[in-house]
């Protein structure tokens, strides 16, 4: 039987747009207007992927569970124009692992890359988000104190290449938060204890062997892309989804996971590639094509987990 993707969306035009985009995967594309119809179709299908309309997310939990039981690898949620209103509800659900919020043409890029990663199981590398020929700068942090200099250099580097102070500032903030997370929160011992979590951030730490953190960045005239990798792979899906949903960050700036929350709110697309016990790679994309006045107030995210 030919592998399939199931789309559940009430809008006929959107159905066709997604159908055309996902057709490039070579999978057969099945379409349902609502969860009821989608559930009936699932009885006779074993889709590799299901894609649903985010505005109906309240009804999606049972559908997702059934889709997983029928063998769907992952579920993807599209938000469309209602992004800003629906986003808090979706984040609070802490069940959506792939959320794409942008309209076309950005949706086309995000949808194809997300689908290909999920279907092929090839998760890692910022290259998947950048145009051919983009130069990536790579830095390995061997001391915690390098964070400030490297992120400052990133900001200056972007400004020197013509990016606005705002883009440079956002990129610097995101890189700083992701590196800080990799240096202090990622290291975990055999008992699952995060032994550097409470170490003051202004104390020098040697990042030897497994503690080394890799920073890569590049720009392809669409995105400034920042990738930060640690070699512990201790960040898990539940922690990420709770950090993204943190409402107390907005209210009080408090709580664990503030760095991830700030990074998410400071970029246009945040991608987590997880190999449990081995690697955590986080990619942040800052879209430089549109002025702030034309940008969505919400951001896309993906949480990909490598299969054992």
């Amino acid at each position: 039987m030919r592998a399939s993707i199931l789309i559940v969306h009430p809008d006929r035009k959107t159905q066709r747009t997604i159908q055309r985009i996902l057709g490039v995967t070579g999978h057969s594309i099945e379409v349902a207007d609502d969860f009821e119809q989608g559930t009936r179709m699932l009885a006779n299908l074993a889709p590799s992927l299901v894609v649903v309309d985010g505005s109906a997310i309240g009804d999606a939990a049972a559908f997702f569970a059934y889709a997983h039981a029928r063998g769907a690898e992952a579920c993807m949620t599209l938000l469309g124009a209602a992004a800003s209103e629906a986003l808090p509800r979706i984040l609070e659900a802490t069940a959506i692992t792939n959320l794409l919020v942008h309209p076309m043409p950005v949706l086309g890029e995000e949808l194809v890359i997300t689908a290909q990663k999920l279907l092929r199981g090839e998760l890692f590398g910022v290259e998947k988000y950048l145009l051919w020929g983009t130069t990536l700068e790579t830095h390995t942090l061997t001391h915690a104190s390098q964070r400030a200099d490297l992120t400052s250099m990133l900001g200056e580097h972007l400004k020197a290449r013509g990016q606005s102070a705002r883009v440079a500032s956002m990129a610097r903030l995101v890189a700083d938060e992701l590196i800080s997370n990799a240096v202090h929160n990622a290291p975990v011992n055999a008992d699952g204890e995060h032994y550097r979590r409470d170490t003051p951030r202004d104390i020098e730490l040697a990042l030897d062997g497994r503690h080394e953190v890799r920073l890569r960045w590049g720009c392809d005239a669409r995105y400034v892309a920042i990738e930060v990798t640690d070699h512990f792979g201790s960040l898990d899906r539940a922690t990420i989804l709770h950090a993204l949903a943190k409402s107390e960050v907005r209210e009080s700036g408090g709580g664990a996971g503030m760095g991830i929350s700030l990074a998410y709110r400071s970029c246009d697309h945040l991608v987590f590639n997880l190999a449990p016990g081995r690697t955590t790679e986080i990619i942040a994309l800052v879209d430089i094509r549109y002025p702030p006045s034309e940008r969505m107030s919400a951001s896309s995210y993906n949480v990909f987990v490598e299969k054992p």
Partner: protein
């Protein structure tokens, strides 16, 4: 008289006659809570035009500083608030404390020649207009055309709303 200058981590603090001028990064090394000791006549006035960066650790300390100022009954005035700080004031409500923002920078773009500029806005003189989420008009310094506000007013000016 020469103003005293001190450095805390990556933040330079200049003690002017009635205010402090902050330049650099507010992060885990900046110890912004210590700024309260420089309050005069129960007022702390900060010039923030030179703050180019603030991270989550700096935000935490900033919130503590605001809370301590409230507890001590100090009035905090923020002048010439830079765009990176405005973004944090908008993103995290607690960073605002009870502080009065008297002026701040805002992004404008010229649709005619494409120039982007961070423009200083007097929040007191334009209070009525800003309350209606109307950006003050700005003329492009390069081609003299009218510049457009380069963000959503309801998003960028949200830090001015009462908390």
């Amino acid at each position: 008289m020469t103003a005293a200058v001190e450095t805390k981590g990556r933040l330079q603090i200049t003690h002017a006659a009635d205010h402090l001028v902050l330049v650099g990064s507010i992060d885990e090394t900046a110890a912004v809570l210590d700024l309260l000791a420089s309050a005069r006549d129960r007022r702390l006035v900060l010039d923030l035009a030179g703050v180019a960066f603030i991270n989550s650790l700096g935000v935490r300390d900033w919130i503590r500083m605001q809370a301590a100022a409230q507890k001590a009954g100090l009035a905090v005035e923020l002048r010439r608030v830079s765009e990176p700080l405005v973004h944090q004031l908008n993103m995290i409500i607690a960073t605002r404390g009870d502080a009065a923002v008297t002026s701040f920078y805002a992004p404008y773009q010229c649709d005619s020649c494409g120039r982007e500029e961070s423009i200083l806005i007097d929040a007191v003189a334009h209070a009525t207009r800003l309350a209606k989420l109307e950006p003050p008009p700005v003329t492009c310094p390069e081609c003299s055309a009218q510049m457009a506000f380069n963000d959503f007013p309801e998003r960028y000016f949200s830090f001015l709303a009462p908390t």
